[in-house]
Amino acid sequence: MTPPLVLAREHDGRQDLLACRDRVFCLCLGFAGNTADARDLAQETFAKALTHYEADRPANPQAWIMRIARNTCLDQARRKKTRGPQHLISEWNAVDGRTPEGEAGREEEIAIVRRAIAGLPGRLRDVLVMREYGELSYQEIAQALDIGSGTVMSRLNRARRAVLKFYREEHHEKTK
């Protein structure tokens, strides 16, 4: 019979994992670029995490599951090309009920940001997506990627500059 203490600890660990459900989904959204893929990836991430939780017993469950989510996203990206942000517009309208005329400019801007992030080198994109979509701290990103906090900051800075540059250029092209 399983001791109550173990059950409680297991329950706590799973609860910790489930608590970051939205963050895992957002991280998957950052990597996948569309809601449908992000949902599947989040589900796959949790399936893996819950399967291996007992064996791994992570000290920081949130950083651990974020790493699983990132690896799952990268595996999926390798397996196939993601559908990209083309579903964003329909989802946007379906959720908020906004008119296409009123939100077209905003959607276009979001699409530019998505393209900028998708065009980043992998090591910069990982850090940026974890920070902006997963809302992880520098320390958590460093832990998830096995790099130093200084490296996280410098990569994040470079990634942001690259995205900004792309965004400005694209925006300038659109408003010409």
Partner: protein, 180 residues
């Protein structure tokens, strides 16, 4: 840094908007963390057969190259490697070949005429009812003994030109008709 923070705020706002929209959609639907994904991703393209074919082709190439190298080392050079054993080697144990006296006699060269059968020429000369001039002195039996193959060949050529064979065939048919 301050200079970059303002434009990045705009990007952050856009990202936050995208996340909010997606999260609203995500929360509206039921999410079971333990269940496998509802819409399975497409299976990875089968790379094993391709890999297997590539590896097999590579292995075959290496083996072929190794075989060639081994052969070259064994023979010393390409020139001494014959593609097939000589005909004389193959026929050296043959009874007929040894009776022929030489390899050339046993293996007729291309274009050369077949060995002359004296009986055939004797028979041919006898069959020709009107042999050409110069062949009369060589009777049917004499050609067997003293027939000159070149002369006989010339006579046959002349007989062909004169239509002697056609005459012979018609004569032969008449004999057959009579016998019938």
């Amino acid at each position: 840094m301050k200079k970059q923070s303002d434009p990045w705020d705009e990007i952050s706002r856009l990202i936050a908007l995208e996340k909010k929209t997606a999260l609203d959609d995500f929360r509206r639907r039921e999410f079971d963390p333990g269940a496998p994904p509802a819409r399975q991703t497409e299976p990875a393209p089968e790379s094993r057969p391709v890999m297997r074919r590539t590896v097999l082709a590579l292995a075959a190439s290496i083996l072929f190259a190794a075989g060639l190298a081994f052969l070259w080392l064994l023979k010393g050079s390409w020139g001494s490697i014959s593609s097939a054993p000589a005909l004389a080697e193959l026929l050296s144990d043959s009874y007929l070949y040894s009776r022929a006296g030489s390899a050339e006699a046993a293996a007729p060269a291309a274009g050369a005429m077949a060995p002359v059968n004296p009986y055939f020429f004797g028979w041919a000369a006898a069959a020709l009812q009107r042999p050409a001039a110069g062949t009369e002195e060589a009777g049917p039996s004499a050609t067997v003994e003293r027939g000159d193959p070149d002369e006989v060949r010339r006579n046959i050529g002349r007989a062909v030109r004169d239509g002697a064979f056609e005459q012979f065939l018609s004569h032969f048919r008449e004999i057959q008709d009579k016998e019938a």
